[in-house]
Point group: C2
């Protein structure tokens, strides 16, 4: 419980106040008819299963911490139903190649282990996939750029839990399995044991989100949360932790969350079991990515108003504990770049007092050199400069000096899409109108669909504009005079 | 000492036999007149100081392990002179924020600590800088693509050594200082203490290279070796290890080995002390990179010979323990890509028997999930396909799903250059001639200088070919008929 005295000394952000949600009418006829949800969330796979992202502006406006209301959700099937009265008796195991197998309840997890709290940004591997789907249909549904969210998670670190179980010699992986029964079995995946045992990586068994018991869509009553890796590894509704000598053989571990080589098309992929099983193509750490949130899609900025400047804003993130070290903006398609100041609200938690607790967990951040959360950038520019430009593009660089590429890496599942984020500027009468690359789900709009319809090649590294390499395409000529 | 029985069971590569070198005539008039060197090495900064890389083909032909003869060298000044008889008495310290400061000799390091051996690829932050210098002169000299080498290093791990000294509360960095006195003081730099204490990162105090005492150019008698980070952090001729609460304030730590934002030009950079001191721009982990070694520059392949195929070959690497998970080749400027098989000779060391030793050190590789070395790729193609193509380009992707970019990131010091490596194909009579981007040092040749001289814009993402964004440049027209 946060006392007023404690609160006044906190420099770091606390979660915004969540809403009271209800079961929505559209969920009444589905197995999720017990789950309360926020109607603002955009459904990406029809009514059911529930896969959603918030409108990008709403997500951004909530700030560093996202409420449960707007936190993205990736469900493969029905949400397991757990009554509040059953929560503390929920059982899960630590088994497999361990000296001391554990069968425990959530009550045991809370009573017998040190509790920690820290902020973690979860990102779906499919964030920005709609852009890939416009280039060429992938096997995945169409995430916009809001497939990420940040919450304060409370629970027990995996190193703590696994140390109690004592992994055996030869153990190399840790598998996680949830209670969500799906056409191909329970959802499950694995990570390397070496990572799971590394306190720097901060993997956690969590039972609170923003200080409240987990909502059903986020794993009620207990889940894995893995900072810096794609959301698909953070198994919800946790039932089993299995220490093994080989990666998970769960169907979802093998046939989801992979970036197959770009030349493999959907037809070929059906006949390449060895390629699917090649762990080199499995995604763990997030790649470096960024998006423009303001100007929003279809936002209009008057040229004749009193404001002479406009403040561009957005987010960026890196994976595997890495940090975004610079965010650059171009108004001339990459010829020149401007540096945008970055803020890392996560750093405010590093200044917490020694042993300080939040939501019943020690705020386990101050000693970390690693980075688990998104950051924000902004850049104030004269509107006259935006008026002169055709588009705004951004790219982030991380502390391993890898920079987001100009070119999209298309792959059959459509994942980890991270080319320069481009917003087109239209001059319309006395205002500027801004156009994002896409809109999520089946929502029409965005320059990618438009340019493609106009016959432009959106894979050419020039966003559909003509290049010398495309001489074969007839160039429109001015009629001779 | 390697006994025949041991040798026969080894699956992993041992170093090629080194040559007996002599002091070269050009070194006689320099302070390095005591240092024996291989005349094949290409001098990048005149005669002195000694900064060299091997001819790319020679480096590649040596295989996974590079001999001392061809290992690249980056010296800032004169090589400290240490007689063989003085080696074991060489003193160095572990000092600063530690409970138990240590002053020790190399003899102590060998006698009092466990010795380990493993292969490490060192890479200069300036590898491939010549390409950047052609675009726009940086403050650095012109490395080609052979600014990297791999050796088996033997010594004591930093976690071992630092644990003995016991870092104090509040300590966050480890500084290293060498015996090479330079215009701005002794060479020195720092890394994070958290990394230095992490066995996965494998930082080491080394006294043997490929089973022999360190050669003078490589730090005789003792040096730091840091896997996965730029060579500039691996301080040679080690005198001091200093645990601190802040990064090194050594001149070379601040004004070298940084990637400043791209918009900062050499003139501006002289007046930006805070930008130089911003640790976000300091380079630690290597970024992901690759090069084509065969076909070599100016190699000719007959179209009329008996061979119907040609095998492309090269290297790739990633930093920070990451692994290259795919290498792709394009013959149509990125429209389509082919997958090239990769081999990781480093993995052979992982299969060593438990406790196996090499060169007096335990082969400390089998348990590691991290990757410390370069890998090799090759792709056999019909010569007819090469005949049809204008160029060959490659890109590597690492296990964080970051891919080498099409575009160069130019910065004032010219470092971490890693765009797609491009070899141009010229059709000359009955053969193909291949042209690399550049040649190291002041050696002329390469398509970048040629295209630039012809007036092409080599920064446009199309290697100097005309793009739609360059309408201002008059396009050559067919004369009207």
């Amino acid at each position: 419980p946060v006392t007023p005295t404690e609160e006044s000394s906190r420099l770091y952000p606390l979660p915004p106040t969540p809403k009271e949600n209800k079961v929505l009418p559209e969920d009444l006829k589905t197995p999720d008819n017990h789950v309360e949800r926020d109607p603002r969330l955009i459904r990406l796979t029809g009514v059911h299963p529930f896969n959603v992202e918030a409108p990008l502006s709403d997500l951004f406006d909530e700030g560093f911490i996202t409420t449960k209301d707007l936190h993205y959700v990736r469900n493969h099937g029905a949400v397991p139903r757990v009554e509040d009265t059953e929560v503390l008796d929920w059982e899960f195991t630590v088994e497999g190649m361990v000296e001391h197998p554990i069968k425990m309840t959530l009550r045991d997890l809370i009573q017998d282990f040190e509790q920690v709290t820290y902020p973690i940004t979860l990102v779906c591997a499919g964030n920005r996939r709609k852009e890939q789907n416009v280039v060429r249909k992938t096997k995945g549904f169409s995430w916009g750029a809001a497939g990420l969210s940040t919450a304060l998670w409370t629970g027990v670190t995996l190193p703590d839990l696994l140390t109690r179980a004592v992994p055996k010699r030869g153990a190399k992986y840790v598998c996680f399995e949830g209670a969500d029964k799906l056409p191909n079995g329970y959802y499950g995946t694995s990570v390397k044991l070496n990572w799971a045992m590394d306190p720097d990586r901060g993997m956690m068994v969590a039972h609170k989100m923003n200080g409240e018991p987990l909502p059903p869509d986020h794993g009620k009553p207990v889940r894995i949360v893995i900072p810096g890796q794609i959301g698909g590894r953070s198994v919800k509704w946790l039932k089993r932790i299995i220490v093994t000598s080989a990666p998970s053989d769960n169907w979802y571990h093998i046939y989801d969350n992979r970036v197959l080589p770009t030349m493999i098309d959907p037809e070929q992929s059906a006949n390449l079991p060895d390629t699917w099983k090649d762990e080199r193509y499995a995604i763990y750490d997030l790649n470096t990515n960024s998006a423009i949130c303001y100007p929003a899609h279809d936002e209009r900025v008057p040229l004749t108003g009193s404001a002479e400047t406009y403040k561009l804003k957005g987010y960026a993130y890196a994976g595997g504990g890495k940090r975004v070290t610079r965010l650059e903006v171009t108004l001339d398609q990459g010829r020149t770049w401007m540096l945008a100041p970055i803020s890392y609200p996560e750093d405010l938690y590093r200044q917490a007092r020694d042993g300080e607790t939040l939501f019943g967990g020690r705020l386990d951040v101050s000693w970390r050199e690693t980075c688990f959360c998104w950051c924000f950038w902004e850049l104030e520019l004269p509107i006259a400069k935006l008026h002169e430009a055709r588009d705004i593009m951004i790219r982030a660089m991380d502390d391993s000096m890898m920079v987001q590429p100009r070119d999209m890496y298309w792959s059959v599942l459509g994942m980890m899409n991270n080319p320069w984020y481009r917003v087109v500027i239209h001059k319309e009468g006395h205002s500027l109108r801004f156009e994002h690359p896409t809109q999520p789900a089946l929502i029409p709009g965005g320059w990618m669909e438009r340019v493609k319809k106009e016959g432009g090649n959106i894979t050419n590294g020039f966003w559909g504009e003509k290049t010398a390499g495309e001489d074969a395409t007839p160039v429109q000529e001015e009629p001779a005079k």
